[in-house]
Amino acid sequence: MGSLLANNWHSFLTGFGWTILSSIVALVFSLIIGSLFAIMEVMPNKVLRVIGNVYVEIFRNIPLLVITMFFYLVIPLYFVKINGFTAGTIGLTIYTSAFIAETVRSGINSVDIGQMEAARAMGMTYGQAMRYIVLPQAFKLVIPPLGNQFINLVKNSSVLAFVAGFDLMYQGNAIASQTFDTVNTYIIVGLFYLVITLPISYYMRHLEKTLA
């Protein structure tokens, strides 16, 4: 296994880099987009609520691969040319954002209604009450399930392999077909994923403890 790793070090590292880049970009944007849709889903305005709901239900209930293929094939056909990495990361972001929206929405709903009422009774607007009082409490509540979403996101980034995204999985497939050493290749790929996911797992637990 050592020589396999040494001989293909550059490929593994490249894949590792793309996987991390895709994961970070998708994490940041899916957290922002997911939170926005979560807030829309609890808004007093019915139109916004319906839009939020439709978005979440569509993208949460379609396979990630289908969403990614859509961006990979359809967008270049009608709009702009994008590469596999971009298409994969967009798909990953949208797919994950739907799950994050659900997670954050449930967090918002589990904050006692009295918190919102007290803030509104003091003359705060809905937005101020959300921003200063409800959301900070909601995010604290959803740290553990968000951790799960982040770990899933990293693992799901392997979808890039299907759209030539040069990620870990893609490199693994290439190395395996060149060297025929499939078992060791995929063990190494798995270990590389652990290098990313275990620290996330540990950090989320740490956050959960220090903020609780």
């Binding site: 007290a118 003091m122 101020q128 200063y132 009082i133 409490q137």
Partner: protein
Amino acid sequence: MSMIEFRDVQKYYGKFHALKDINLEIDKGETVVLIGPSGSGKSTLARSVNGLEQIQEGQLIVNGHDIADKKTDINRIRTDVGMVFQHFNLYANKDVLENIMIAPRIVLKMNEDENKKRAMALLDQVGLADKAHNMPSQISGGQAQRVAIARSLAMKPRCMLFDEPTSALDPEMIDDVLGVIKYVTSQSDMTSLIVTHEMGFAQEVANRVIFMADGQILEDDKTSEFFKNPTNERARQFLSKIIKH
């Protein structure tokens, strides 16, 4: 000059008629206690004054503004109307001092030094200056309710609504909270509407007592008259039951 005025107000929850033909005037500086059996609409009435509950018909004039009018800036009116809740509702993510300072800072844009000075003075008034940096989860219910009162007063309201402020408290904590409320209502320019089951307290602080049942106001009388000689039959039954226990 009235501070709060209900004119033929109707409130429904779906088909349930929660407030029926409410007509009520509360003058500036008055302290009015609202009593009645649970489910009678007392809390709904109090909560409609600052728009936490919306009324469907009639007019509700608070400090000269009709709050049922869509053009009325409800947030502006709420800065003049303090509210104290049964379950305190201190912001769980803020310490005691921040609980008091946040609304003056972001709603009134109060200067930070002045805000802090006032907040500490208010905490001192309710006897909790030493708890300024505790989180709400670290103080008792009675202390939390006193902080909640200080939090409302920080907005310099002209009117205070107390929605069963002692109902969720252990008996030995009630007196401290009632003491603070008594002090607040004693200020000559403060208008107060208090929903409570504490009859002794009602007798002590109220200028007027309003008795509600089934969403209607059945009796509205001077405090001494009400407790001596309630005219309404249901009010009489209610009083006799409460006083027996």
